[in-house]
Symmetry: none
DNA sequence: CTTTAAGCGAGACGGTACGTCATGTCTTACG
DNA sequence: CGTAAGACATGACGTACCGTCTCGCTTAAAG
């Protein structure tokens, strides 16, 4: 059920300002190509062809392939909420399942394309880094809430822990192993919450 | 002091068999290019040019860019040993520092290129997955030893935990943040060993 | 000292009529670009940029690149006078030297651009043809005066002869050999006046 | 009756050497495009498309559009012979009629394209100049023969005179007036041979 | 002791995509 | 309605690599 904008009307300039119809068409096209052919088939030419847009129009608004990828990703990701059940363990499990689940349905193909692009494009790398850091910081709220409740030890910076968890997900995404069983997730969260040391019991 | 094979002698066929001199020259060239220009400058053409090899010679032995990258990585990685100090905490810290340290010195540039290549090459993805899984399994020995010593709880499968840790490293590698302070590493290992839950103390 | 109109005042519409300031600015810009970069750098975009005019303003008044070129040429050529010393030989030499001299100083760059443009623009070709024919006809006055004086044979139509001479100049212009020595000009005029045949002496 | 090579066989490399089939196909395509659409439709892309050749193949062998044009011109012009009837007047008339006649049948379209291209491409200008100079020098043989026979005055350099005549032809070509009547040609040659001066009778 | 068969370097081939530029048309906002 | 501004779709530019090919050679193994 693609939401492609298949209006017959010919798109053209609407004056000295960005044409939202073109922007939409380009992002739609980019998303579709990515979904259908992956990063391999993703080229500015192909996007322009499919969107019936001129290459300069794309380059005008997106300086690099990676910039376009990021826009596609952001657009289809929408807002992110972190479950707040009052139980940190459950919240962490929900976090992991939500992330892996989203990646399993289209989002993953796009995000791994972004990561790949960032490995040969310094600007994309910076964008990706900023995104990743921000993401880990904001998801840290799950642990911060636990700390506020006294449920979680207060002598930890939540951020590196969230890096641990999202790193796990990245690893799975990038090696094509997104089908993580609920059991595995529980194992990880349990280990993290309870600690590995036998003396910590 | 690079070990580049700068022999003046003109390389040619040595009969109906693979010429090791060519193989070496190609892998050397590939490694150098990767080190100097990163994945962006890495192309079969460039490798052939630098190695003074014919393109078909490369294609004959390495079916894809990713296959060549993997060979380069394996060649320069050598054997991996996991410290065994009798203290799991120290062993984990050493593991993380060794991995990040190796990536900081050349290895990282190559490995992130491999990850990127794998995102658009199914065969490379399989190779990467196999490598990653094997790696996590073998590094699990650190925890297994702890379990054998009774230092670490025995009701855990070590593998997902090592995925957690290596995932953290992947994340840092792929976002260009390999400069991890010893403090951060300690924090992570401490959290993992001690557990986050305030009741686990 | 170029007479470029560098007025700071912002040019804008002066109502529902052609703005002469814009016209001047555009012609100035076109002339300067042609002088500085030749036909290669001459584009409607470049002219608009330099004249600080909108592209549609140019397209409104000059239907094609060639039309603009012709306007530039006409504007800077001014009236043409043909020397009348009473000696046809001298008048012809003066004619050739004046034409080549004018082309050597800016005019040539523009005119050869016009000729080039006319080769792929039918309208420009017609304009160029009309101009060339008119020019040869009017310069024919040099020979007509000689005929009136009895100095030149009367059984010739002056026009083809002037085509011969101006054709020589075109050839030199279009092959970048405008530096014609006075001796060469004399040779040509002498040959033409005296005839090549040894029996005509 | 186009001599297009319409072989179905797929053209490919024949080793580390120029493929004559490709060269022929490219020149054929270029010539056809020029004949059909003139300089306006002549682009490297269009030639490549029509010749079913890669753009780099064209750029490999012809550094510029003008180089390709010149090759096309030379190929279809073949050898040039200058009539030798023993009568200089007749030889000159034949020379003019042959040149104008050749230009009337395809050759002209190509040559005026070359002239146009040379006006914005310095390298093409040099090539054109060399060609024009060589051509005038070699056609000077017509007058030189007359001088040897004693039919033509010996105190003239033939070259500038031939420039006069070919200049006339260029003028006609570039203004689209190749339909020169035999009478006009006779007039010009007569004037040149007999001289304009009334005292030269 | 020859064939023969494969590997080698070289590099040309038809392609595709790159990122930039100019084209001529369009709409805006302003005067 | 004319203007400056500039976005738009289009398409050519010249370059870099892609993966395939054929060449002319070298050399070890097979006959």
């Amino acid at each position: 059920m693609t939401k492609t904008s298949m209006d017959i009307t010919k798109r053209t300039s609407i004056g000295a300002q960005r044409n939202p119809a073109s922007e939409t068409a380009i992002l739609d096209a980019a998303e579709e190509i990515l979904r259908e052919s992956g990063l391999g088939g993703f080229s500015i030419e192909a996007v322009a062809r499919r969107a019936k847009a001129g290459k300069p129009t794309i380059y005008r608004w997106w300086p690099s392939k990676a910039a376009l990828l990021l826009d596609v990703y952001h657009r289809q990701k929408g807002e992110t909420f972190y479950a707040d059940t009052g139980d940190t363990r459950k919240d962490l499990v929900a976090f992991l399942e939500a992330l892996l689940g989203f990646w399993r349905t289209n989002g993953g193909e796009i995000f791994r394309s972004i990561i790949a692009a960032a490995q040969s494009d310094p600007e994309a790398l910076i964008a990706l880094r900023d995104y990743a850091v921000t993401r880990c910081r904001s998801s840290g709220v799950i642990l911060a809430r636990g700390q506020a409740r006294g449920e979680v030890r207060g002598d930890f910076d939540p951020e590196p822990i969230m890096e641990l968890l999202s790193g796990f997900c990245w690893n799975r995404l990038l090696t094509g192993r997104l089908e993580v069983s609920p059991g595995e997730i529980e194992t990880i969260v349990d280990a993290l919450m309870g600690g590995l040391s036998s003396t910590s019991r």
